[in-house]
């Protein structure tokens, strides 16, 4: 019996989740093709965190690498979930916006540049309140501009997941790739429990959390595109596939009627089970795809 049959591939794989933001970004790009924009030695830190006795980080938790993926010019923006839960402040938001705008500028001038967003984030950084909210609006405006030219691929690997304002950013991207460990939602479990009570949502119930927000459910519902293993090579290959396909015929966030009808058709008189929701929503999407084909 060879070693390969004894040790399953899942054990020998290179985990993507275990990588820090900078290493995640590098793992997706052609080796030697990238350079970092506004890196840690440029020391553009949040001026607001020290005022609140919180240590800042020299890259504000946002890593921007410009280079190529399978030869395609791409900017990869990775949020570091380990720093302030990947939250978006003034500096990290400005870095994202500037990087996306540069990609749009290049795309408009004949050098098509795609964007890959590695989102591990709780959303707006509450310590920077309004600046963080403004940053989300700016990032969204920049994605709307870029996605006319080149695809914007969001990868949510885990374990922080993607919540709050940044879930809107994920929602307007061209493709969303998730792992089983990842979560995607507007309000996180603890926020729902805090606002609506434990009868509405028990935030200590991990099975419930993943049944609602988890990658399997999100892909199953059709609100994310591909479910991937926590494997750096598999995730890199999936990103390359998205970039190769290019822009979708229609972006998910343009299908307003589809989702509005979906929400209108929900029967809230009884508890909706995650699996039922998955089945109903996915059928609806399949029909639309057939209809448009």
């Amino acid at each position: 019996m060879s070693v390969a049959t004894v040790i399953p591939a899942f054990v020998t794989r290179e985990s993507f989740i275990e990588l820090e933001a900078r290493d995640r970004a590098q793992a997706l790009m052609d080796p030697g093709s990238w350079r970092e924009l506004v890196g840690p030695f440029d020391r553009i830190e949040s001026p607001w965190l020290p005022m609140q006795s919180i240590a800042p980080q020299s890259d504000d938790g946002c890593v921007v690498l410009k280079g190529t993926i399978a030869g395609q010019a791409t900017v990869v923006i990775a949020l570091e979930g380990g720093f302030q839960a990947g939250s978006i402040g003034e500096v990290s938001g400005a870095k994202m916006t500037a990087a996306l705008d540069l990609a749009t500028h290049d795309s408009e001038n004949g050098r098509k540049t795609a964007a890959v967003l590695l989102l591990e984030t709780g959303g707006v950084r509450l310590q920077e309140a309004n600046l963080g909210l403004a940053a989300i609006a700016e990032v969204m405006a920049s994605i709307f501009a870029l996605r006319q030219h080149a695809p914007v691929v969001t990868v949510i690997a885990g374990t922080v997941g993607c919540f709050g304002g940044m879930s809107l950013v994920a929602g307007i991207s061209s493709y969303i790739l998730m792992t089983r460990e990842a979560r995607l939602g507007l309000n996180g479990a603890e926020v729902i429990e805090q606002e609506s009570g434990i009868e509405e949502f028990d935030s200590s119930d991990r099975a419930l959390i993943w049944a609602v927000f988890g990658g399997e459910q999100r892909v199953g519902m059709g609100v994310a595109d591909e479910l991937l293993q926590d494997d750096a090579k598999e995730i890199a290959a999936a990103v390359q596939r998205c970039l190769k396909v290019g822009l979708p015929v229609v972006h998910r966030s343009q299908q307003i009627d589809l989702y509005r009808d979906g929400i209108a058709a929900l029967d809230t008189s009884q508890q909706i089970e995650p699996l039922t929701l998955r089945k109903n929503w996915n059928n609806k999407q399949a029909k639309t795809k057939e209809g448009s084909a």
């Binding site: 890196g39 840690p40 030695f41 240590a55 570091e80």
Partner: protein, 98 residues
């Protein structure tokens, strides 16, 4: 929030590379290590935990008893223990001496 500064004039070996390691997460810190043009070592620390100046000095004294590079070190700290501080410093040295 506390700012600390230390100088180690005896660390004067020329260093050409720079290193960035660590994350400012709870119980962890980041180190930026780069060549110091002054020809000796300088350390600046920004920490969210006040009152541990003597512990920082003890860890750095021990670190510079073995490391002699003329480096400028900046640390952003979110409550790393002395053991973690030493590991992060050694990790940065590993990067610049690769």
């Amino acid at each position: 929030m506390e700012q600390l500064k230390f100088d180690y004039p005896s660390a004067n070996r020329w260093i050409s590379k720079r290193a960035h390691v660590g994350i400012v997460g709870s119980g962890d810190m980041e180190v930026l290590m780069e060549p110091a043009e002054t020809g000796s070592a300088h350390v600046s620390i920004q920490t969210s935990v006040n009152g541990f100046g003597s512990s920082w000095k003890a860890v750095l004294d021990r670190f510079f008893a073995r490391f002699d590079g003329a480096v400028r070190i900046h640390i952003n700290d979110a409550g790393a223990t002395p053991g973690s501080v030493m590991l992060r410093l050694e990790q940065a040295v590993e990067v610049i001496e690769q």
